[in-house]
Symmetry: C2
Subunit: 330 residues, 2 copies
């Protein structure tokens, strides 16, 4: 049996190129005691992948040249010499961008597909969902009646944040990059306002929809939109930094000129590292599964097929061509 | 009797120029009921003055062209038709850059010169001292044994922060712009390390003196030094934004590229607006006066004389030519 893998051929200089990756085939070795073999079914495409392609920092270790591209994925156990896992179990973890993964079982999570179909466990029931849930509820501390502004609101994290904020009784304004996405935010995610950052003046629209300022800004985008949000903070605002998708392909991140507005608003800027809440994931999965089941929350998936299409699919994340949680079906 | 006043002649474009101001003489009118006349003795030179010279924002109203330059000052009541103030009382307040001020008594503070000589009440016992005290203790939340890094450490706010942090048992590292100032920080303010930002590599020195990172960064400077500090935060760090003296003369503030380091450090960035603590000033004045009296704290003053020297004295703040709290003796 052959394992098809995507390796990192070289590091990108700016935007990700297909030539940064190489498709290879490798034999799958016999399992050793304690190991298990997983057939990968869905691979998550995440902005963090861009960072992993770099040399690395003290905080994030880069993928080595020639190594399997790092990736969060979901799959099914097809062989097991590990007593904690049975053939037929469904799992998620850092399985890598490949069709088959061998694991020692550490850092794998078993998933209960009764809570939702497998693909949802790398989306709204997985890391992006957890990032939204804990970032909003723990760092944002939303109170009913407050106004929240979300950048990248049609992405998996943004749309989950927006829907949870609505459930919590907030007024929610989000940005997205197309009319279709804005319509989705209003009609399916129940947001109060959606700003098309490609065609509308974000600052004007934000002032119109949040005349008293923004109590929570949940930022997935960074750059100009962060500065606009900072200029419109309400007193006591919480700025929750989750990502900076607009900046990841740049050699140097553009810092927010308006950072002192956090001070004058008597606000606070911090952010979400989802791994800090790992012990509390079950509670979040249960809440989100319940909301999905009751129809209080939607989760849109954008599924591409074929491991060989990984490079072009990853690029879609940065061009904004995805609509919903971007997944690769293996 | 004549009042000598400094008015704002025009708005600066970048750095403050003497030609932005005009020295004028005006008659002092008769007092109306409820008013009092103050002979101004010391005028405080503050970085905020640069902001007041601009057109203004929703948060800070600019000084009008032709109006008396705004300024915090201390003086003595020489005539009073206000029952709350007696001739001979000492007061501080926004008296403006002039030799005599007429006030209705609102927003004036009576000062007790037994706690310290008059000039200290616009320094370490006044707004800068309060800014240091509450910024450090309320926002920074220092704990004994923690490492604190202070930019602009030889300034009135910075040196007060540093000395309070030492009293609280912290390891304190500060930056300053001359050997003399660095020596002052070590020998008189009792700091553990001083970095000369004009001759030393700040990042290298900071790593050397704070190998485990910085638990509190108290920022008076902004710009490059803020980015260096953010790259060296310890887990759970507090970033207290107080000022950005390096940026005030620039058309656009340079935002911190490393702002996401606050997130990875599980830190928090906020800042100090001293007016929020006005009800608690007496407690801070008492603490600082006690420390001064017991010799646990020093306060260095840099006093220039003559109202006509206001423009050149103000420029010293931005060139770093002052050494200690900069005051104009009227």
């Amino acid at each position: 049996m052959e394992n098809k893998i995507i390796t990192l051929a070289n590091r990108p200089n700016g935007i990700v190129e297909s030539s940064n990756f190489k498709l290879e085939e490798r034999n799958i070795p016999e399992l050793e005691d304690g190991q298990l073999l997983i057939k990968v079914e869905y691979i998550s495409l995440d902005p963090a992948m861009r960072g992993w392609m770099n040399e690395g920092t003290t905080y994030i270790k880069g993928v080595a040249i020639g190594a399997v591209m790092r990736g969060f994925a979901a799959g099914k156990v097809v062989q097991s010499k590990n007593e904690d896992f049975q053939k037929g179990d469904y799992v998620t973890g850092m399985l890598g961008v490949q069709t088959h993964a061998i694991s020692d079982g550490k850092d794998l999570s078993k998933v209960d597909i009764r809570a939702g179909r497998l693909s949802l466990h790398i989306g709204v029931l997985g890391m992006p969902g957890m990032t939204a849930y804990f970032g909003l509820l723990e760092k944002g501390q939303p109170k009913a009646g407050e106004t929240i502004f979300i950048s990248g609101a049609a992405g998996i994290v943004g749309s989950t944040v927006g829907q949870i904020a609505k459930i919590r009784g907030c007024k929610v304004i989000g940005t997205a990059g197309s009319e279709k996405k804005c319509e989705y935010l209003i009609k399916e995610c129940n947001l109060d306002a959606a700003i098309n950052y490609k065609t509308q003046d974000i600052a004007d629209e934000l002032k119109k929809h949040a005349p008293n300022g923004v109590d929570i800004f949940y930022d997935n985008v960074g750059g100009e939109i962060l500065d606009i949000a900072l200029a419109n903070l309400a007193r006591g605002a919480r700025v929750v930094i989750c990502g900076a998708i607009s900046q990841y392909n740049k050699p140097k991140i553009q810092g927010p000129s308006n950072y002192m507005k956090v001070v004058t608003a008597r606000g606070v800027m911090n952010g979400i590292i989802v791994f800090d809440y790992i012990d509390q994931y079950p509670r979040a999965v249960k809440d989100i599964a319940t909301w999905l089941e009751k129809g209080k929350m939607q989760s849109k998936e954008h599924i591409k097929e074929g491991i060989e299409n990984f490079p072009s699919t990853l690029r879609m994340l940065f061009t904004g061509d995805n609509f919903g949680k971007l997944l690769l079906k293996v």
